[in-house]
């Protein structure tokens, strides 16, 4: 047993050494807000991300997002502010800030000769944020900029239930069915902070956490499909999670409440493949009179015409072309719905 443990320790040291030479990813780039308990990047820092098919220098703004520096909270009268909330697709750490969906859309809007305002897009997006988590980010960071339009994006997937299951105490479904968006979390202790720093400095540890997440997700998928296949058939009321329809309504209602607070208009944007049925989303948004668009069909048509892929070869996220097409599609939609970009 002693020999095995010494062997494992040696192997860990050797792997750490190999990773220190070959892995240039900065794993110590994420911070957790002591106020909201939400994760962001370390404000104002710059770090590198790379996978086999891309490499990018990520410039983090003072809010902790991969985005240009946000404007002052006070809004000039001629400025039309759009808060773009989203997940890793909107965050776009794979491409430079200039190539991101938000930057491109802002340029397209401001290049429009018929415009009445100076458009300013403030992206509030972080990796792994699901629909409800996006609302938390909007509430914590986005609303203080007094947006005129809130674009909530549901890209690639609309798994509301996963977002609730993954809650870490900052997102809760209350007993009366409403959503508690955030609560103040305690500042981590000195020891906890040192431990976090130490573990994030170890490339092996960080890689193992990544692997653990991948395998846990795969395992979760397998067990959930088994659960759906077996248990939910045997016991119809097995699932404690509210139905997709109920969660969609909860999401749209909360989004509406938040927008109404700032008298902002709302647009829900998705990029869902044909395999995911978004009828719940279509119905609920139309009931609440919130415009809704799935940009993926138009994006795929464009990609087919030009023979260029929208995504990276080694990663599901959009490449620079994907961001460009998404911005153009969204711009085309906004142009045909001028009320959305008019105060």
């Amino acid at each position: 047993m002693k020999n095995i443990l010494i062997g494992i320790l040696l192997a860990c040291l050797l792997t750490e050494l190999c990773l220190q030479v070959t892995d240039d990813i900065d794993y110590d780039s994420v911070a957790t807000s002591s106020i909201s308990g939400l994760k962001t990047y370390r404000p104002g820092e710059t770090f590198h991300v790379s996978l086999s098919c891309y490499k990018n220098e990520v410039k983090v703004n003072s809010l902790g997002f991969h985005a240009p520096e946000p404007p002052p909270e006070e809004k000039p009268s001629e400025e039309f502010r759009i808060v773009l909330v989203g997940n890793s697709f909107v965050e776009g750490v794979q491409v430079p800030i200039d190539s991101m969906l938000s930057s491109r859309l802002e340029r397209l809007l401001n290049e429009n000769p018929d415009r009445h305002y100076t458009y300013r897009i403030i992206p509030i997006a972080f990796s792994g944020a699901g629909p409800f988590r996006e609302l938390q980010y909007l509430s914590r960071y986005g609303l203080s900029y007094h947006p005129d339009l809130i674009i909530s994006t549901l890209l690639v997937d609309v798994n509301f239930a996963d977002d609730l299951h993954g809650a870490d105490g900052t997102l809760m479904l209350t007993s009366n069915g409403s959503l508690k968006l955030y609560q103040t979390s305690k500042q981590p202790s000195f020891l906890a902070r040192q431990w976090n720093h130490l573990t994030r400095s170890s490339k092996l540890w960080s890689n193992m956490v990544r692997v653990e997440r991948i395998s846990a997700n795969s395992f979760k998928q397998v067990t959930r499909s088994l659960q759906v296949a077996l248990l939910s058939r045997l016991i119809p009321k097995y699932s404690k999670t509210p139905s997709h329809d109920a969660l969609t309504r909860l999401y749209i209602d909360t989004l509406k409440t938040l927008s109404d607070k700032e008298h902002a208009q709302t647009l829900v944007v998705s990029a869902l493949p044909a395999t995911i049925v978004d009828s719940d989303l279509q119905t609920t948004t139309s009931q609440q009179h919130i415009p809704y668009i799935n940009i993926l069909p138009a994006m795929e048509r464009e990609s087919l015409q030009n023979g260029q892929p929208l995504s990276l070869s080694c990663d599901e996220h959009w490449n620079a072309y994907g961001h460009e097409v998404a911005a153009q599609t969204l711009f085309d939609y906004l142009k045909t719905h001028p009320a959305l970009i008019t105060r």
């Binding site: 020999n3 095995i4 010494i6 062997g7 494992i8 040696l10 192997a11 860990c12 050797l14 792997t15 190999c18 990773l19 070959t22 892995d23 240039d24 790379s50 086999s52 098919c53 891309y54 490499k55 092996l204 890689n207 193992m208 692997v211 991948i214 395998s215 795969s218 395992f219 397998v222 070869s313 080694c314």
Partner: protein, 457 residues
């Protein structure tokens, strides 16, 4: 299910525990059920096709064993026709109709079906059994269940190695007690197979696939690198599968035939084929090449035998001129090799073999003959600055890791570090080496869920 899936990671330990919980005389039944489940996890309906073939060959072999001379021949022909017929129907007829090489037959239903996974492997393994029984070198198996297990044995079910009855069937009849040493050796071999597939092959695929996927705009240097790297990707992918299969079988107590013998040490094309996909090349040697007369005949007849054998080897891989050309190229190399004086240096001979075979694999990898030619035309595209389009979007370190992966596979297999030294060194070194391999697999693995290349055959 694929070996490189979570499904298999869960399936194998459970199957293994149950296997050793069964009474030794009933273990074949559990193994058969596990094998059926393994295959049914891909497309359940296709197990019926396999069952059909199993029953036909089982009856044919019994008929050969007990029948008169003419009846023996009739049973053999019936078995060959059924096997080859199924293969042609699924592998060639459907494809040829689809690509428009064959006219659509009126009233014949349009087939929107895929070929059953690993059909070429099952058919050849079954044929080998019937032919051996016909030749009288192996008696017909009277137990239908055991014969079914011979065809369906899950570790080698989808992509070989193509086993011979004399090697596999007796092992399936023997009761195997649990053996800790076999478990260790089997797990090490499986781990090595996963390393080759997930760390080396799938990483190389990231460089190779974009070039083979879009050959029109590729720069010559990129094309050369992709062609050279694909040979190694194919080796790491296929030999990785075989190592996992052999490791899994070893834990169960069964030794599968090795399918590779360090092919990159081959000094000629003939030598290469003796080291590469050995179970297929020996199958063609024993059942096609030698019956045709082999090399103990006149020169032109030998050339004819080589051509037929390699064209059939090409066609075994798929219906398409690219596979025919692949076979023709191999045959051409071997025939030419007889008349050309070999290079003096062994290293140069190995390099020459590697380059020639890499050209051959272009026709294997390309979806059609025209596509392969388009890719090869890229070898003349030296215009503009030396733009390694393939690599410009990759970190240089990714390429270094891929190269280190290739070197480590070559070195470990060349010096047999995995099987020999590992078990005769200090326990600390053994556990460190195993843990290191697991960690490398986890941190450098490319988990893209890419299926094994040979699954398509």
């Amino acid at each position: 299910m694929s070996f490189a899936s979570l499904h298999f990671i869960l399936f194998f330990p459970i199957a293994l525990c149950c296997y050793y919980c069964f009474r030794p005389r009933n273990r074949w039944l559990f193994l058969l059920l596990a094998s059926i489940y393994f295959y049914a996890a891909f497309i359940p309906q296709y197990t019926l096709i396999l069952f059909g073939l199993i029953v036909i060959d089982y009856i044919a072999a019994l008929g050969i064993q007990t029948g008169t001379r003419s009846r023996k021949l009739l049973c053999l022909l019936a078995s060959i026709c059924s096997n080859i017929g199924i293969l042609i129907f699924f592998k060639y007829f459907t494809l040829l109709t689809y690509v428009g090489w064959l006219p659509h037959i009126p009233f014949f239903p349009k087939l929107g079906i895929l070929m059953p996974l690993g059909l070429s492997f099952h058919v050849f393994q079954s044929l080998s059994y019937v032919i051996e029984v016909y030749r009288g070198t192996y008696p017909a198996e009277r137990h239908l269940g055991r014969y079914a297990l011979y065809v369906l044995f899950f570790p080698q079910l989808v992509a070989g190695p193509i086993e011979r009855p004399a090697h596999l069937l007796p092992q399936l009849k023997t009761a195997h007690a649990f053996d800790m040493e076999r478990l260790k050796a089997g797990l090490t071999l499986m781990l090595w197979g996963f390393f080759k597939k997930i760390v080396v092959a799938d990483r190389l695929a990231q460089f190779v696939d974009p070039v083979f996927g879009n050959p029109l705009h590729a720069h010559a240097l990129t094309v050369i690198l992709a062609i050279l790297l694909f040979t190694f990707q194919l080796y790491a992918d296929f030999s990785g599968y075989v190592d996992i299969a052999r490791g899994a079988a070893r834990i169960i107590g069964i030794d599968l035939a090795p399918n590779f013998n360090q092919p990159f040490l081959a000094t000629s094309i003939a030598d290469f084929w003796r080291r590469w996909h050995i179970s297929l090349s020996t199958w063609f040697r024993d059942y096609v090449y030698i019956p045709l007369g082999g090399s103990r005949t006149t020169l032109w007849k030998w050339e004819r035998n080589i051509l037929i054998t390699f064209i059939l080897t090409g066609i075994w891989h798929g219906a398409g001129w690219n596979f025919v050309v692949m076979g023709l190229l191999s045959a051409g190399y071997i025939i030419a090799g007889r008349f050309i004086t070999p290079l003096r240096s062994v290293v140069l001979q190995r390099m020459q073999t590697y380059v020639l075979m890499s050209l051959c694999w272009v026709f294997f990898r390309a979806p059609s003959f025209g596509y392969a030619i388009t890719l090869l035309k890229g070898l003349g595209n030296w215009h503009g600055i030396s733009k390694l389009a393939l690599f410009s979007s990759y970190r240089p370190m990714e390429f270094v890791i891929a190269l280190l992966g290739i070197i480590s596979v070559l070195a470990i297999e060349r010096y047999d570090l995995l099987h020999f030294h590992l078990h005769k060194t200090h326990p600390i070194f053994r556990s460190a080496a195993t843990a290191f391999l697991i960690l490398l697999l986890l941190v450098y693995g490319v988990f893209t869920n890419k299926s094994f290349i040979y699954f398509q055959f």
